[in-house]
């Protein structure tokens, strides 16, 4: 026994010729939220599936809460829960029936299963919707019933696979509040996300995953420091000014300035915010009118560009297949 929630060495999972997980080493302590950040197709979901005993690794070892995911799979299953990217409850059944089903599978007798279902429906604000079929739920309600199904018996470790993908901002905040409540009660959460913002809001530490490998690990502050403390976006009013604006910005900021696909736009990673003020004044002095400018935290794309030298790619066929 040790106090790590997740420990893997050289974890590999292959689908045909695609190494979806290609030598992942993790050492994640118990407690708090650990984020897996990466674009679609990076291998996040496949890693989670191996850790949750849904897929068998082709190489390496993985221990979850001190138990081997292959030889002690049932031990692992008693202690973890999974909330998938797609609602993994039965759409044909009602919310209450789904919770009763899971309660009975864990060994609750009829009346106890019913009581637990009522308690969870109430806690997740689904009391009125409990007798409606899940297929009639909205996106946010669906994600809530899915999380409720994951805690019918309180797990020590919860895998949350892209819990807010496709949700509106309000529902996304609700899910975030639920995750925070769970963490405060002592559950360890492993969260996968494509959004740096989400990892920033929730995760204590983040592993950045790309092409089946962990390419960086740290707190969100540490990761952002690796791409500069901020990201400046400038859009010139007239595209003929872009080249001149770029030269001025590079001189004043002393960093590389990138030309975006948008023919009017430029962007740069900056460390010192004081330089940004001077750079914007310099553009004004040169009489280059700007349509807009903003200074914000780096985007996932920028973190990726900096860490990998290639932009975050869109969905690959194989990962969709694997998901």
């Amino acid at each position: 026994m040790n106090d790590l929630a997740i420990e893997t060495h050289g974890l590999v999972k292959v689908f045909g010729s695609n190494r979806a997980v290609d030598g992942v080493d993790l050492a994640i302590p118990r407690g708090g939220v650990h984020g897996f950040l990466g674009p679609n197709g990076a291998g996040k979901t496949t890693t989670i599936r191996v850790l949750a005993t849904l897929a068998r690794p082709d190489g390496g070892t993985a221990r979850v809460l001190g138990r081997d995911v292959v030889t002690e799979a049932n031990e692992v299953r008693q202690r973890v829960s999974l909330t998938g990217q797609f609602a993994s409850v039965d759409e044909d059944l009602t919310g209450r029936e789904n919770l009763r089903l899971i309660g009975r599978l864990f060994g609750h007798r009829g009346a106890a299963a019913r009581r637990r279902a009522d308690e969870l429906l109430d806690a997740f604000g689904l009391g009125d919707a409990g007798d409606r079929q899940v297929k009639k739920y909205s996106g946010g309600m669906r994600r809530r019933i899915d999380i409720a199904a994951s805690i019918v018996v309180t797990p020590e470790l919860l895998f949350l696979d892209e819990p807010t993908t496709g949700l509106d901002p309000r529902s996304r905040n609700e899910v975030w509040d639920i995750v925070r409540a769970m963490v405060s009660s002592g559950t360890t959460v492993l969260l996968t996300t494509q959004y740096l913002d989400e990892a920033d809001q929730l995760a204590d530490r983040i592993s950045v995953i790309d092409r089946g490998k962990v390419i960086a690990e740290g707190t969100s502050t540490e990761l952002k420091a690796s791409v500069g403390s901020g990201s400046l976006h400038v859009r010139v009013m007239d595209r003929v000014d872009r080249e001149a604006a770029r030269a001025i910005l590079e001189r004043e900021l002393a960093v590389d300035v990138r030309e975006e696909a948008d023919p009017n736009a430029l962007s740069a990673n900056v460390d010192e915010q004081g330089r940004v003020t001077r750079a914007l004044s310099a553009l004004d002095d040169a009489r280059i009118p700007l349509a807009q400018f903003s200074l914000g935290q780096p985007t996932l794309d920028e973190v990726f560009l900096s860490l990998t030298g290639h932009p975050a790619e869109e969905t690959t066929e194989t990962e969709v297949d694997a998901a």
């Binding site: 068998r56 299953r77 998938g84 044909d92 806690a123 509040d177 639920i178 769970m182 935290q297």
Partner: protein, 284 residues
């Protein structure tokens, strides 16, 4: 001077919601893990709930048997046995088998759909006896098969079927059909874990079911068939099933066909049950 203004704090579930969630999480009651029979029956309950919410599922088990019985009785009755009344005595046990075997096909396509929707990911992540989700599904199907058998038997009685084995014989025959279709179900569960779309599961199932049912002794006595076809009919497990169902429902001794049917059923479970569970480990 961070100009980024996308942060929105709070604005989520009401604070009392979080408190209730904390309370729900705090009740860390861990019931005793249930046994294989209990979890299988719970999944059987799920299948019944699905029938309750999607009653259209019962369309095939009622319409198929009526259609088959009427079609084949009146299509072949006069030509094969001189009268429909004589033919139905021979045909009805066989058409019960045919009707149920046709419906077993849906087991595979239903499982494929469930796998695609992700609900089986949750079942597979639970600490329960592994095959119970599939066993429960097949038990739920047994309810549908029973409806099909009952509809066929009642229609047969109306058309003049008078089984010599009486009600007891019918029950034994029905039990045999249920046993065999439960066993055959594992072929479809394996196929649906092997193939990627419910369309292809359906296609391959048809390819297996058509020779199994028509290349048997359901419709005619095999003695008039060419030798090569007789050889196939002889080894076809469906023929053994039909022979034994005909015998027990007719009130005569089924002979070797009864143990053969049971051996075939056990073999199907042993082989395809094992293959299914092997694929189920890595199902997606």
């Amino acid at each position: 001077m961070t100009l980024d203004s996308t942060r929105t704090e709070g604005a989520g579930a009401a604070p009392d919601g979080s408190a209730k969630i904390l309370q729900a999480l705090a009740s860390s009651e861990r019931p005793t893990p249930p046994g294989p029979l209990s979890t299988s029956l719970t999944f059987g309950w799920r299948a019944l709930l699905k029938i309750k919410h999607v009653p259209e599922q019962l369309f095939d088990v009622t319409v198929f048997p009526v259609m088959f019985t009427l079609l084949f009785t009146f299509l072949f009755g006069g030509a094969l046995a001189g009268s429909t009344e004589d033919y139905i005595q021979f045909l009805l046990p066989g058409i019960m088998v045919q009707g149920v075997i046709m419906i077993t096909m849906y087991t595979g396509t239903t499982l494929r759909t469930d796998l695609e929707k992700g609900v089986f990911d949750r079942f597979r992540s639970l600490p329960i006896w592994r095959p119970s989700a599939l066993v429960g599904m097949l038990l739920g199907d047994a309810v549908r098969f029973t409806i099909s058998l009952t509809v066929t038997a009642l229609l047969g009685l109306v058309l003049g079927w008078r089984p010599g084995g009486g009600f007891g014989g019918f029950l034994v025959g029905a039990a045999l059909i249920l046993l065999f279709s439960f066993s055959l179900g594992w072929v479809w569960t394996f196929l649906s874990l092997l193939l990627r779309t419910s369309g292809s599961v359906m296609g391959v199932s048809m390819l297996v079911i058509t020779p199994l049912t028509f290349g048997s002794n359901i419709f005619v006595d095999p003695s008039t068939m060419p030798g090569w076809l007789q050889a196939f009919v002889e080894v076809n497990p469906v023929s053994h099933l039909v022979t034994s169902v005909r015998a027990v429902m007719g009130g005569i001794d089924p002979g070797a066909s009864l143990p053969l049917t049971i051996v075939w059923s056990a073999a199907l479970i042993a082989v395809f049950g094992t293959l299914t569970m092997w694929r189920y480990r890595d199902a997606r």
